[in-house]
Symmetry: C2
């Protein structure tokens, strides 16, 4: 096998995610820069009739929450509007009814699936909205989680946003989604367990440690304010994966206070604008990672927001192994995002 | 919230994967049938010059293994040819050199990344090859794993195939890939641990139980022979996810004997042809799940092959949670595959 040595240039690195223990291959030799990815900018919205526009309120299930300038329930005049998903992945009524089926286990698909319509402006993208508008979207997130968590059947509430068809968005009108689940998803449990292990060993929150480490090292830092740190994580699974972490320790997103949400709005907006500029308006997903809703405040878990631009295709290797190959070292991604100028 | 009841039709089901404990949402109400997916058939290969064709052997690194009718090393005349990946994700030379970096852990990206060129015929797809030809591909898998596992640095060897651009294939010439890793990937470890837990409790292999259960129930059974069972798994993450399981308990793929490989070739070929017919030549990934290579034979783990047609986009929800929504119940997928006629 010695003959193969000449095909090895710089060795890639295997990096371990400190929270979950997941190993990731970070390519160092043929590192991909922003221009190396095949660009597929998310096209600008088209002006067709949409159930999320003013005047189409009757096309959605009745609204659960709205912030309004005028109008009554299910009328135009809202700024942010939350409705049940018309085609929900889970149903809100009924009992969990855990039961066996042969050797297997199942339960009824009880949960909530809501859509947060972020603006009446069909033609906007999240990054086009004002800070104030995004702040209201975040308030809607907080309000809905706070309401739903009183239903003790729900053990986890996921807040996420798919932008662009490649990221799984089926409607172009700006919106986020919320799914309340009767079980704690496996990846979430792993993250919580990993953070707890670290805490048991060190008596410190691992996310607080990461924030300190990254603010000091600086190489993976995108930006920071008094309240937030934005980084390209050390063991990023995806090129330009970006995390927004609150500096103050808090396990549950829904406990965030007004100044935190105001600052998060600024951070989220500027981070997406940076990604848009460096990667030419990529499709992306973001997900709020927060502690299981029925848990009391946790010393060892720390909510944060993870943004994943959709630049590469996930292939058999990743599905089969949960082992990712990231062609862009996070240090390079952070540098591009740090240096890009915003108007 | 009672007002929402009318938007709930049949409740979806939450099903638990018996091996890993992962919960999956299986839609029952708006179940997607094959015609409901947006078809994107993998286009037929184009006849352009390719480094995997006869006469281009010098464009790849020197071959590691070949089955030939004629010709010498790195000459035309081969039927199956294995070469190092010219752009490997990992390098074969060097020490692991485990070390810290601040609070983080890393090691050198030591491993092997090989390409199994399945045929000199650029214009073929795997399903076009003869049973004999696919059998030789499987022999190449077995030989390469058996050789590489003697290198004690390698703890896991992944065999996988990406078909079609949507599934991550960057070259259209029929090929599979092998990656030897110095760590056991997280998803693999979870599967092995889950199977061990079941064994500790029941003193039986969970995969052997699944095979018995599915052959008896029949509702998720696609086909079976003396040696193999093909099923749509109970908690399938993806529509038309299909598993091929050997009936005889064996933990390591590379221990499969000649009659097993011959029968697997038949099974794999007919299963992919069924998927091609029902789903109109979809992009797909398949992955061989096998025990960690340095382990002795395991009573509790059972190698198998998982095929995932690429029909849906994985969105933020799935990334954030490891929690999948499958719009096609496996019972329906199995029925379509069972009933499709092959010439």
């Amino acid at each position: 096998m010695r003959v193969l040595a000449r095909y090895n240039h710089d060795l890639p690195e295997l990096r371990k995610d400190p929270i979950t223990g997941r190993w990731v291959i970070i390519a160092t030799d043929r590192a991909k820069r922003p221009n190396d990815f095949i660009r597929q900018p998310v096209p600008a919205p088209t002006a067709r009739i949409c159930p999320f526009d003013y005047g189409s309120e009757h096309k959605t299930p009745p609204e659960i929450l709205a912030y309004r300038n005028s109008g009554g329930r299910d009328q135009p005049g809202w700024r942010v509007r939350v409705v049940p998903n018309k085609f929900p992945a889970l149903g809100i009524e009924g009992d969990l009814d855990r039961r066996g089926e042969g050797m297997y286990d199942k339960m009824s698909g009880i949960g909530a699936h809501e859509v947060i319509i972020e603006t009446p402006d069909h033609m906007a993208t999240l990054a086009d909205l004002s800070e104030k508008q995004i702040e209201e979207v975040l308030w809607a997130y907080k309000e809905r989680v706070s309401d739903l968590k009183r239903d003790r059947r729900f053990r986890y509430i996921l807040l996420f946003r798919n932008h662009g068809e490649a990221a799984g968005a089926s409607l172009e009108h700006p919106h986020s989604q919320l799914i309340a689940l009767p079980v704690i998803p496996k990846r979430v449990q792993e993250e919580v367990d990993g953070a707890k292990q670290f805490y048991d060993f060190k008596e410190r929150c691992i996310f607080c440690d990461i924030i300190r480490e990254e603010n000091t090292a600086g190489t993976r830092l995108v930006t920071e304010t008094d309240r937030f740190t934005v980084i390209a994580p050390y063991a990023a699974r995806f090129p330009f994966e970006t995390w927004i972490l609150p500096k103050r320790h808090e396990s549950h997103f829904e406990e965030a206070d007004a100044p935190t949400l105001a600052n998060l709005s600024w951070m989220l907006r500027s981070t997406i604008r940076k990604l848009d500029k460096v990667l030419e308006r990529p499709a992306y997903n973001f997900i709020i990672h927060s502690a299981p809703v029925q848990d009391a405040p946790l010393t060892y878990y720390h909510w944060h927001l993870e943004i994943i631009p959709k630049l590469t295709k996930v292939a058999g290797f990743e599905w089969g192994s949960g082992f990712y190959i990231n062609p862009t070292p996070p240090e390079e991604a952070a540098k591009f995002l740090r240096e890009v100028g915003l108007p």
